[in-house]
Amino acid sequence: MRFHIYQVVISVISAIMIYQGVTNYIKGKNNPTLLKLLARIAVWGSMALITIFPNISNVAAKIIGIEGNINAVILIGFIFVFLMMFKLLSAIERLEQDLSIVTRNDALKRINEEEK
């Protein structure tokens, strides 16, 4: 099996990213969660797998039912990006609401104290 340079570069980057994710999870750095770790492994792992074994994308294409392995990879990529966007928007929305509640409680503090 002959490796191209891009395969080596992407594999090394993927390995570093996965290693970093695992060590962060073990050390408890940057609010790690199992979900975050699994997402990182899934993204970088599949990128490395597709780079090293390009034929895997044919399997994905067959499973999805799309002709052409590149189209299947792009579709999976899009779905993943949309899922991430949705998760980010939900998180932002939640944070915004929490921020409003904290701001409101702070504004009402004076009245609450007077009521006591």
Binding site: S90, E96, L108, R110, I111
Partner: protein
């Protein structure tokens, strides 16, 4: 005005950078006979808070800007804590006429309904055409998404009974708040009434950049759809 004492009627005014108008608004509300005024300064960078305090209102301050809806909700919570039986909300730029408050609270006093919505579209005299158009669009989307047709879904001049203020609990922070209230009226089957109100579009109120523009309109619509989905 028999069933509810005036001391239990509270006027809530959310304000953001309204230094130039807030004192006049407070004085007008006092002049109309309502002394319980709560001004919620929504993180203004000018002297809105101190001017409101000087004018004799209960001034509350958001440390950061959270939007008209969030400020209104803070004011309503404050009014509830202070023992309000009827809560009136109105804008801080002077576009609403405090003399309309009496007509606005009358149906609640008579126990005919829980919420009274001031509507600008039953008398559009003096209202810029683009505002009329924008309101019709907003009314359509409010009806389409939330199921209740009202003639002015974006009016901030409203009155709530204590019961309605307890029941309505929207999470909307910004301009979508007004439409979300309509949704909650529909969901909780609150009795409501629409009363025509006078609107005074002054150079001051029209010149403010944070008012609902086209982009804010799209943002409001996006937030309305988002709230339905999640």
């Amino acid at each position: 005005m028999d069933s509810v004492e005036k001391s239990r009627i509270f006027v809530v005014i959310p304000a953001f950078n309204e230094e130039g108008a807030i004192q006049a608004v407070i004085n007008e509300v006092c002049g109309a006979g309502y002394e319980n005024i709560i001004v919620v300064d929504d993180g203004s960078s000018d002297g809105t808070y101190s001017k409101a305090k000087q004018a004799g209102a209960v001034a509350l301050g958001h440390k950061i800007n959270r939007g008209k809806g969030a400020a209104t909700k803070t004011g309503i919570e404050a009014a509830k804590l202070l023992g309000a039986d009827i809560i009136v909300t109105m804008d801080g730029d002077g576009q609403h006429d405090p003399n309309d408050i009496e007509r606005l609270i009358e149906p609640i006093m008579k126990k005919e309904c829980d919420v009274v919505l001031g509507t600008r579209l039953k008398n559009t005299k003096g209202m810029p055409w683009h505002k009329i158009l924008a309101n019709h669009v907003a009314n359509f989307f409010t009806w389409y998404l939330f199921g209740l047709w009202v003639t002015d879904s974006q009016s901030g001049f409203r009155a709530y009974s204590r019961h309605a203020a307890e029941v309505i609990n929207t999470r909307a922070d910004r301009y979508e708040y007004d439409s979300q209230v309509i949704r909650e009226i529909y969901i909780y089957k609150l009795k409501y009434k629409e009363i025509p109100i006078a609107v005074r579009y002054t150079e001051y109120s029209m010149g403010k950049i944070q008012k609902q523009g086209v982009m804010n309109g799209f943002k409001t619509l996006y937030k309305m759809v988002w709230s339905l989905l999640f």
